[in-house]
């Protein structure tokens, strides 16, 4: 009971009493037999550790418990071990052996955690042991363990960064890069980025796979992967805005560069474009984005959906990728997503604002539409306010400036005077960049000069001073030099501003304004621009001289400067000069006895420079240059601009210095690397797990997904698939037989040939047929593709190649003779078979078919009837009987002696909506005899098998029939291709599954075999084959169509082939998205085979 209470109140571990517990006691407890005691003392140790106490003393006692069976105890020991291993590394080595044993534990979680612990023990002595453990784990069956192994590599690298060790680790990374589990691959790229971030040569052949699987990575590795791929793109591809840079080049060069681009364009348009390709002309319009390398495009395309990620870091990474690697026009779209992130929390807001503030220094128009998002809310923290002000300033244009200034006026009222000061600076920068508003800004700022806050006034004066300097100096240049080559044309508009009035206004302020820094600034302005107000300036000096002794030091300094400047300004006017010299001397005398030594010093210098020049002739000659000269306009330096040198989204960018491990983003190379480098060396076949698929990402690879199934069924399904493939190879011969061309003329011959072959394969088949009164020809006509169908087909297909339709799918084993007590059943799907008659309808038909009723074939129909029905529209066939598959069973008695009797279907286990029409009971099968029977099955699911029993006198066997996607479709005809196109376009709004694929070996050798391969395993209606590109003989387009059995919706397939690059772009469109996905997967398998 005590322990129960302990568990409920864990806080006691933290109480002072426990903290004072002697470590010796805990050690004793750790040596006890009870797991509970050990656990208790481990918890106490961890609590003490958490309070900052050094409990390394207990290390030896803890290490002993690494062997513990209790998982919680084990984990706590691991935790402690990792914490102190560095300090107590001799004792830590004692634990290694035990941990190593756990590496072979049955549970993947234990294996993974053992690997994580052993690699976290930062002791150089065991590095080889760790590497061994990693080598073993990267081949582990569990992706969870392999992921841990990928991380462990990075830990080893941190422990020993020597070159040869790194090489060893890179080998391991290379192995892991071949992994197809997104979990493992993501972790591997994180490790890659840490161990060998520059080894792009290793990435080439995995590049496409990584791009395609990107959306399935976990969000954290997505961030690292996108950043890595950004750098990859910047080293391997050409600048996407190449035409911009081309402008600078000479014309012939331009032509040279454009030609190869056009080739790319064609490829990429056939590959990636969503639009219909019949209007190829559209693509030839030059649009810069199309000149991008297709691999480059792939990266951009597979990352764009991630802008919708819930993870802010992912959105930032994609934005950075687009900003740095995408054409400028496309990069625009990331703006919206970044702005959305501003509303998550203030920490995120800070990072995003910092990044935006750098982005606007380069491309302000990206964020112009979101101006009001950057208006300041009274609750914003200080660090965000500054950034927002800067962004607003950068976004200012003549169009929106009035809105911004209106907003700034609000800010000026704020109580936080620092904020107000920052706003005034922002107004100043707006005024200097947008000449239209300079005047109103200046007046606005002047009104602020009466503000009670000295900070505000000082800031206003300083900004005014800067604006005056900027504008007057430019004007001066303009007037004097008559030179329009100034960096800005601003001043042209400014000429109407009366600067003299402003200066006089400022001078008047001297009577009231008390803030020293502001007074000093004003006096400086008067001195600097005294030529503007030649009559007023000496008078101001006179007034200032009266109050000189009461002024602040900085003001005194400026008064002296003013006097000196006036001394020169009045050189031409003897009368004025006399007066100013007197005032000047008066001031110098005052300053001579000033309390401040700086003032005394400068007065002394001035005296010898300007008044008592006898001993210093050389200096006094140059005195004018000292006092009256062109002062440089203070330039605004912005941190955000400085940050441009760092990659967006990086830590270095935020702190504005290069952090350890920062990788610079290189510039695009002049020449792109060879795309063939990225040709995968190892064929990438999605494994069962990747098939299970990516939901968020139907974008690229979604077609694998089997939404409706849980894992078991899925495995079963793919298992069937493999089986099917195997059998396909084995039974090549069968396929030949099964191949059935019902062209009337050749029909006869072929039938003969076929029957011969069949008879070879299935001994005594003819006998059987006789027994059943079954004529081979009739069979064929009954089950074969209707003549009508084919005639139409042949017309429509302008094919100059062989293509074959099959009347039935490959045979598969339903029941093995060993399991079925001597009874073996093979089955195949029959194509083009009529929909079965349901019992009530059968009755109506019996009269017609009564003559032809053959044994065991109760649903067989009159041949004519059959053809008639085929000619009718599918919808017009019996409503209730839609969606049935006809499956032919080859039932054989394999026993050497003894009959099998009363074979029939027993209990059926069907999913809801699924129906099975049985065959009539077979009374008897003699040894070796083979009987063909048909059943009609409505699967009502794309994956759920129909399970039923086969009963005979020898016993009951359970069998299951799994739907095959290729057979869940029936051909759908179209009058001509244009009709097909029409439907295809209509279907665009529904599910459109698509994928780009590389040819498999079979197709590489003979690309023309594609159609036959497809029709072999998928029951589709070919519509047309055409050249998708008139200029090239290498691009072909196949169009196919069908109706899905599950939902009776049309499904259209469009395949584009390029026989040079050995690649295909497949699109499936249907209202039945599940079938479309599965079909696309199947097509993928065929093409990649």
């Amino acid at each position: 009971m005590n322990s129960v209470l302990n568990n409920i109140n864990k806080r006691r571990y933290f109480s002072d009493q426990t903290a004072n517990t002697k470590i010796d006691e805990l050690k004793k407890q750790l040596d006890s037999d009870s797991d509970q005691d050990k656990l208790d003392s481990m918890k106490k140790l961890i609590a003490m550790l958490s309070k900052g106490r050094d409990v390394s003393e207990a290390f030896p006692s803890v290490v002993k418990n690494v062997i513990a069976k209790n998982l919680e105890l084990k984990k706590l020991v691991y935790m402690y071990l990792v914490h102190y291993a560095e300090i107590e590394h001799d004792s830590a080595l004692l634990a290694i052996n035990t941990i190593q044993k756990s590496l072979t534990d049955q549970s993947q979680v234990i294996r993974a955690s053992a690997l994580r612990v052993i690699s976290s023990i930062r002791v150089l002595d065991i590095i080889q042991v760790i590497i061994l453990a990693i080598e073993k784990s990267i081949k582990d069956s569990s992706p969870f363990v392999r992921k841990a192994a990928a991380f462990a590599i990075a830990k080893v690298h941190k422990l020993d960064q020597s070159e040869d060790k790194t090489e060893e680790l890179i080998d391991l990374i290379q192995i892991l890069l071949n992994d197809n589990s997104t979990m493992v691959l993501g972790a591997t790229i994180v490790t890659f980025n840490e161990v060998c971030p520059d080894r792009f040569d290793l990435l080439h052949q995995h590049y496409r796979k990584i791009c395609q699987l990107l959306a399935d990575f976990d969000e954290w590795s997505q961030v690292i992967t996108i950043n890595l791929l950004s750098r990859y793109a910047r080293t391997q591809f050409k600048c996407p805005d190449i035409h911009i840079f081309d402008n600078n080049k000479s014309a012939p060069q331009q032509q040279n560069t454009v030609t190869p681009h056009k080739q790319y364009k064609k490829k990429s348009s056939s590959f990636y474009s969503d639009d219909e390709d019949d209007n190829n002309s559209k693509h030839s319009e030059s649009f810069d984005s199309e000149e991008i390398d297709q691999d480059h495009r792939l990266l951009l395309k597979s990352s764009i959906p991630l802008l919708q990620s819930r993870n802010n870091a992912v959105v930032m990474a994609v934005s950075s990728l687009y900003f740095n690697c995408a054409p400028v026009i496309e990069a625009q779209k990331v703006g919206k997503s970044l702005v959305r992130l501003l509303h998550t929390n203030q920490e995120v807001q800070y990072i995003i604002l910092t990044n935006i503030s750098t982005m606007v220094t380069m491309r302000p128009n990206m964020f112009e539409p979101y101006l009001s998002e950057f208006f300041i809310n009274s609750q914003d923290p200080e660090y965000c306010i500054k950034l927002k002000l800067e962004i607003l300033t950068r976004l200012a244009t003549p169009v929106n400036i009035s809105r911004i200034l209106k907003e700034f006026k609000e800010y000026i009222k704020n109580e936080d005077k620092k904020f107000v000061a920052a706003t005034i600076q922002a107004i100043g920068s707006c005024a200097s960049t947008i000449p239209d508003v300079t005047e109103s800004c200046i007046f606005g700022l002047m009104s602020l000069l009466t503000n009670t806050s000295s900070i505000v006034v000082a800031e206003s004066v300083i900004v005014l001073k800067r604006l005056l300097q900027l504008n007057l100096d430019m004007k001066k240049d303009d007037n004097n030099n008559n030179n329009n080559n100034n960096n800005d044309d601003n001043n042209n508009n400014n000429s109407n501003i009366k600067y003299d009035n402003i200066i006089i206004h400022l001078a008047r302020l001297l009577d009231t304004l008390q803030v020293p820094s502001a007074r000093a600034s004003i006096i400086w302005v008067i001195g600097e621009y005294s030529h503007k107000i030649p009559m007023v300036a000496p008078d101001i000096l006179r007034k200032l001289a009266k109050s000189f002794s009461d002024e602040h030091e900085s003001v005194k300094q400026q008064i002296l400067n003013l006097a000196a400047k006036l001394h020169f300004a009045s050189e031409n006017n003897v009368k004025v000069q006399e007066k100013t010299t007197l005032i000047f001397q008066y001031l110098l005398n005052q300053a001579k006895f000033d309390l401040n030594y700086d003032i005394r010093d400068s007065s002394r210098i001035m005296r010898y420079l300007l008044v008592n020049t006898d001993n210093t002739p050389l200096l006094s000659q140059n005195a004018k240059a000292l006092f009256v000269n062109q002062k440089p306009v203070p330039t605004e330096t912005s941190v955000s601009e400085d940050r441009q040198r760092f990659t967006l989204g990086s830590l270095s960018h935020i702190v504005n210095h290069s952090a350890m491990g920062y990788q610079t983003l290189p510039d695009f190379p002049a020449e792109a690397s060879d795309p063939s480098l990225r040709q995968p060396k190892q064929k990438w076949v999605p494994d069962v797990q990747t098939q299970k698929l990516s939901f968020k990402n139907e974008f690229e690879s979604s077609f694998y997904s089997d939404d409706d199934e849980d894992e078991d069924e899925d495995e079963e399904y793919s298992g069937e698939d493999e089986e099917e493939e195997e059998e396909e190879e084995e039974e090549e011969e069968d396929e030949l037989e099964a191949f059935f061309n019902s062209d009337e003329e050749s029909g006869k011959k072929k039938k003969d040939k076929k029957s011969k072959k069949k008879s070879k394969k299935h001994h005594k088949k003819n006998e059987d047929e006789e027994n059943e009164n079954m004529d081979e020809d009739e069979m064929d006509e009954l089950f074969g593709v209707s003549d009508h169908n084919l005639v139409v087909e042949m017309k429509k297909l302008t094919l100059n190649e062989d293509y074959q339709t099959t009347s039935q799918s490959v045979k598969k084993i339903l029941l093995k003779s060993t399991v079925g007590n001597g009874l073996s059943i093979e089955y195949c799907f029959v194509r083009g078979a009529p929909q079965p008659l349901l019992p009530q309808q059968q009755q109506q038909q019996t009269t017609k078919t009564v003559k032809k009723v053959l044994e065991g074939e109760d649903d067989e129909e009159d041949n004519e009837e059959h053809v008639e029905e085929q000619q009718e529209e599918i919808q017009e066939t019996q409503e209730e009987a839609k969606g049935y598959n006809t499956i032919r069973l080859f039932i054989k008695n394999t026993l050497s002696d003894g009959n099998i009797s009363s074979i029939h279907i027993g209990k059926k286990t069907l999913i809801e909506g699924s129906k099975l029409l049985e065959f009539e009971e077979i009374e008897q099968l003699s040894p070796g005899q083979l009987v063909e029977k048909e059943i009609h099955l409505l699967f009502n699911s794309a994956s759920q098998p129909a399970k039923f029993e086969i009963q005979s006198d020898k016993g009951i066997s359970n069998v299951s029939l799994t739907p095959i996607i290729g057979e869940l479709i029936v051909p759908l005809e179209f009058e001509d291709v244009s009709q097909w196109e029409e439907t295809y376009t209509q279907l665009q709004t529904t599910t459109a599954e698509e994928e780009n694929l590389e040819f498999g070996d079979t197709l590489k050798q003979n690309p023309n075999a594609l159609l036959s391969l497809i029709l072999e395993s998928i029951n589709l209606q070919p519509i047309a084959k055409s050249q998708s590109d008139n200029n090239s003989y290498n691009n072909y387009r196949y169009t196919l169509s069908g109706t899905t059995l599950l939902k009776h919706l049309p499904i259209l397939v469009n395949i584009q082939l390029n026989t040079v690059t050995h690649s295909a772009h497949v699109q499936c469109r249907s209202g039945d998205c599940l079938t479309a996905m599965l079909l696309l997967k199947k097509l993928g398998d065929i093409i990649q085979k």
Partner: protein, 418 residues
């Protein structure tokens, strides 16, 4: 990658320290705490999220009652760290079924916290962050679980991973069973806006989110449709949502995680009608100021109740004392900060809530130019300002799930200039 993580209390005490890449001395927290105090002292502001020290970079997030402080030595995208810290925080909330973590919760569950931190990151990089995984490996605490462990001696750690989660659907395990299948959606919209003194809208946007609580058996594949999906053009999704389906058909197609999760976030612009109006008039003259604030409900169809209305009026610091009256609700003034909090409650139908009176200024202080902006809080239940509503929910499983949708509109950063 993250080197270490510290969890600190509001007062700067270290509660938890976790090191992934070797020990880092606790003294780094003192440095951090100096920074926190410095920014507080300087302008009452909060410490910036990223601090650069001579040896380390500190990235912190501040949440009610605690700071989470990440220490790193090398280049890592800072948002990744912030998001990870946030995820750790959210995981704690979910594990300890609370809405705010405090010192006591951490002390009570420190073993759990260490176990979680150990699983959530390896080598300082996020390792297992999917709640579905974590809950299978480390059982969340709770009185019942604790008692069971106490009695049976079994531990809260298992060596299991959730069934069928190693593939693409990591957020859901197979074989979940519920007696009654239910799913709830909570649509919450926050209005962030700035209104000028004439009632004109300076900036406005609505940030919405849909939280869901799913208690469904099996692997339900859901399809959710909205009445007006075109409105949602700026969204972010939980990883379970199929992006292409949304792009093409504007329906949300997803297999939900089990339990609570955030389905999506969205942002809507261009709202220019609010159900509430606030008219503040505050003017300062000879040594004092006249205050008059009116709050009211605009006609709305269907009429909804505006609840929990709180108006916060920060007076200038130079305000000395106040003489205010309200006809609805209560008000209080914090003497130190001069912030007046007027708790209106529900806006009554029969009269218009008003706060009026005078404030006196401290003699000798300059006249304030204007009053700082007023902020408002309120909520309206069963109402979305954008008009967004769930149209239908289809489920592929055999059962018919019970569906519940609630909606609410709240004030986010609702600010009215005076």
């Amino acid at each position: 990658m993250l080197s270490s993580l510290f969890i600190l209390t509001e007062t700067g005490d270290i509660l938890i320290e976790k090191h992934w890449r070797g020990l880092i001395n606790r003294s780094i927290c003192d440095y951090f705490w100096d920074q926190v105090l410095a920014s507080k002292k300087e302008n009452g502001s909060v410490v910036p999220p990223v601090i650069s020290t001579p040896k380390y970079y500190l990235i912190n997030i501040q949440r009610p009652n605690i700071y989470l402080l990440g220490v790193l030595q090398t280049e890592v995208p800072p948002l990744l760290v912030i998001d990870f810290l946030q995820r750790i925080y959210e995981t704690f909330l979910e594990y300890f079924s609370t809405t705010a973590i405090n010192e006591n919760i951490i002390r009570d569950n420190f073993v759990h916290i260490y176990q979680l931190l150990d699983e959530m990151a390896d080598n300082g990089f996020p390792f297992t962050t999917e709640l579905n995984f974590l809950k299978e490996m480390i059982r969340p605490p709770g009185v019942i679980n604790n008692v069971i462990q106490g009695v049976t001696g079994s531990s809260n750690i298992t060596d299991l991973l959730p069934n069928g989660s190693l593939g693409a659907i990591q957020w859901r395990k197979t074989g979940i069973r519920y007696a009654s299948n239910e799913i709830f959606f909570d649509i919450t919209e926050d209005i962030d806006c700035i209104i000028d003194n004439n009632g004109g809208i300076v900036s406005c946007e609505v940030n919405g989110e849909i939280l869901s609580n799913s208690k469904l058996s099996g692997m339900p594949d859901l399809t959710l449709t909205f009445n007006n999906p075109r409105m949602l053009d700026d969204v972010s999704f939980h990883p379970c949502v199929r992006y292409s389906k949304w792009e093409n058909e504007r329906v949300l197609s997803f297999i939900p995680p089990d339990g609570n999760f955030k389905l999506l976030n969205y942002r809507i612009k261009g709202i220019n009608q609010f159900p509430i109006y606030i008219k503040p008039q505050i003017s300062f003259g000879d040594g004092g100021g006249r205050v008059n604030v009116i709050v009211g409900q605009k006609p709305m169809n269907p009429s909804k109740l505006i609840e929990n209305v709180i108006i916060t009026i920060p007076f200038p610091k130079s305000v000395n004392n106040t003489n205010l009256q309200v006809n609805v609700g209560t008000y209080s003034i914090d003497e130190a900060t001069k912030v007046c909090r007027w708790n209106v409650g529900k806006i009554p139908k029969e009269k218009t809530p008003m706060l009026s009176g005078f404030v006196n200024l401290t003699p000798g202080q300059p006249l304030p130019e204007s009053n700082p902006p007023i902020t408002a809080q309120f909520k309206i239940v069963m109402f979305t300002i954008s008009g967004l509503a769930v149209d239908s929910l289809a489920c592929n499983e055999k059962y018919k799930p019970y569906k519940g949708v609630r909606s609410m509109t709240r004030a986010g950063k609702f600010q009215v200039r005076v």
